[in-house]
Symmetry: C2
């Protein structure tokens, strides 16, 4: 029993929690879900490929896309833009495909305004100490930047209340498996299925 | 991250849909969930064991338990009582264990009055024709009884609206896997976790 429209899944959480790693592992394990590629003005990290990990844009290009309404959401984080091109997401949902967005907390709340029926998942570090270790472990930030990221992270964790689910990222494979269960469960929700079932019973 | 109290899962659906088979398969696969044993006044079918499949009671015994408030829910279906002894369920939930009830539709709606926070799963046949075949296949019913069961089943399907999830019982192993996903997902619901997380962040 397939709904007419796909499910929009929004995976978010504080910076450094491991959204990218979890989303990458989910992508390898589940080839049914469509992955929206975000746009960003930040520099590519080693190994990141334009159009696969992100669409890497200049500030000018990004601001033009915002102005033209081509972004489903966008946020400025530290000094860079992150955003989700709207077109791909809407097209895939219309085809009945489930789509996942891996985005920052500010952006997720913007998406919720357009898609209140979306499934909002908050990825959570096992503890704040563990979060700090993960941010430090990246080795790309100065101490001041780490402190500033931790302050932002705590504010972001306070936003948990706006989400539907909280998934602990204790181990990547466990987090991935929980997210897959959430997608399966949401596809069984009565509210999403009842019209098709009433139809089936009348036929 | 474990909630303080267990999750009450109610598996229901029209008579003949295969609740018992699905619940038995879930029981073999998942030894964490506690299974509430129902009481009934109907005769044991071949292979059914008292205290395992049901507590088999006389009409007099059953009515005494109702009168003494020992039943979480009960229903009279065709000419027999079915019900859930209250004590076991409440004790296991208090210990933090998830508990599953496999019960008739009338009973499920009674449980919802006492446990609105429970997870209500409606097991659905792939079609009404398939449901009739399954009822006929049991070989325990006359034609008149089959017709009467089908009428009741259609009324029960109209109750789907009162449930949280609809799980199609196309194949037992698929239905079991969907139910396991629902349990995992419900254990990740923000509303069930947020108090513990706020605590964790303050520590």
């Amino acid at each position: 029993m397939k709904r007419e429209k796909g499910l929009l899944i929004v995976l978010s959480g504080p910076s450094g929690v491991g959204k990218g790693t979890v989303c990458g592992a989910l992508r390898e394990k589940d080839t049914q879900i469509k992955y929206s590629v975000s746009a960003t003005t930040r520099k590519p990290r080693e190994g990141e490929v334009d159009g696969i990990n992100y669409f890497f844009k200049s500030h000018e290009e990004f601001e033009r896309m915002i102005a033209e309404g081509d972004m489903l959401e966008h946020a400025k984080y530290v000094s860079n833009y992150y955003g989700t091109p709207r077109k791909y997401v809407e097209e895939e949902l219309e085809k009945g495909h489930d789509v996942i967005l891996e985005i920052e907390v500010q952006g997720a709340l913007q998406v919720k305004e357009s898609f209140p029926e979306g499934v909002f998942i908050f990825l959570m570090p096992p503890s704040l100490n563990e979060l700090r270790s993960r941010i430090e472990g990246r080795g790309t930030e100065t101490d001041d930047l780490i402190d500033s990221r931790m302050t932002v992270a705590k504010e972001e964790i306070d936003m948990m209340d706006k989400y539907d689910y909280v998934v602990e990222n204790d181990k990547v494979e466990l987090a991935v498996s929980r997210i897959q269960s959430i997608v399966t469960a949401e596809n069984c929700r009565k509210d999403r299925l009842i019209h098709q079932y009433k139809q089936l019973m009348e036929d």
